[in-house]
Symmetry: C2
Subunit: 189 residues, 2 copies
DNA sequence: ACTAGTCTGTACCGATTGGTACAAAATATG
DNA sequence: CATATTTTGTACCAATCGGTACAGACTAGT
């Protein structure tokens, strides 16, 4: 049944990088063809619905990465604290120490959100949800766990904004350290 | 010497709202003419350099608002804690309880940042700087003040992202409460 | 009322936008 | 090798992009 040349899958990370750099509206077909090396023919063959479908594929890919590298480890770690430590490592890796922006966060800020509302919504819902559950396991009260999870996820997003604004990855590093510390000190509601 | 009809100044807030909703790249001349009611003639009369000049004017306006309503009060409050409380009130007002996005933050995320690097950079530098100084006055150690200021400003930005992603202003409200609390508990380095 | 300066609507520009059509090339399967 | 399918480059499309030109309508000071 025809083996794909493993192409479509290979383009997605490149597309993701492009969308991160230029945002959804700022990403034109011409920069896509330039950066991917694929002509419109191939592009529309892999993604018949154009930019919209590319973005959907990317969001899917990101969601998959987080599920595998962040959510699952959080859920499945016997030691919740270890799971959380692992999350911070994965986050630093994924966002390249603050040099890379969060695609979903950038979509959330402008009217792009409306086109991908459910994907954007569920990305953050999943993240805060799983993290809260893990924090609870580690000794946080139910409400404290939810609040801390929201605080950590928002803190990461804000750190990405600030680090890029200041063009200084150290801002991101400091924020990660603070947030990780905060996730360690369990407290009741 | 000709009194202006107080026009240019009146358009800026409208332009700001448009750029917030669509981002820089996503804001087309046609949505600008639609929303402002001004034709290209007037637009290019007030802003001969087009979108770029509009964005500069908006960034200027925002910087002015924060200087007057956030930074100055922080600096000049005899009671630093009162100044900080005032900041949070102003922030909630400005960002309409999380329903409005931070223009500068949204610029920071994509390649728009490069066109307005100094404005973006100094907006956050000023904010964290003044806030850190005030926290120090309120009893924080020098390093603790800097860290907390960064934490608070990043926290606000992240809360805006998360609140919009979830389409839930309550996320923003909870974050403000946490951050305000955190700014109250002074600690040494 | 006259005039100088400010403001604005309209028509227009070349370039680029996202997207389609399709024949040729490459590839996989029999 | 033959054939069916997938992949690709190229040419093309209408629509929109940001921006300019400019004549005419305003407005203000005299």
């Amino acid at each position: 049944m025809v083996r794909k040349l493993a192409e479509r899958g290979d383009v997605i990370p490149v597309l993701a990088e492009i969308f991160r750099e230029h945002g959804f509206a700022g990403t034109s077909l011409s920069v896509i063809t330039d950066r991917t090396g694929l002509g419109k023919g191939s592009l529309y063959h892999f993604f018949p619905n154009g930019k919209e479908e590319m973005a959907k594929a990317i969001l899917d890919d990101v969601a998959g990465w987080f599920e595998a590298n962040v959510f699952a480890p959080l859920r499945e770690s016997e030691d919740p604290a270890a799971g959380i430590d692992h999350m911070f490592k994965a986050v630093v890796l994924f966002f390249q120490s603050g040099r890379r922006v969060c695609l979903v966060g950038s979509f959330a800020l402008d009217d792009t959100r409306d086109r991908f509302a459910s994907e954007v919504q569920s990305y953050f819902a999943a993240w805060t949800g799983v993290l809260a559950a893990t924090l609870k396991r580690s000794g946080f009260g139910a409400k404290a766990a939810r609040e801390t999870a929201e605080d950590v996820v928002a803190g990461i997003q804000g750190a990405l904004v600030l680090a890029r604004a200041q063009d200084d990855p150290a801002v991101f590093a400091r924020a990660m350290k603070r947030l990780q510390q905060r996730a360690r000190v369990a407290y009741a509601d």
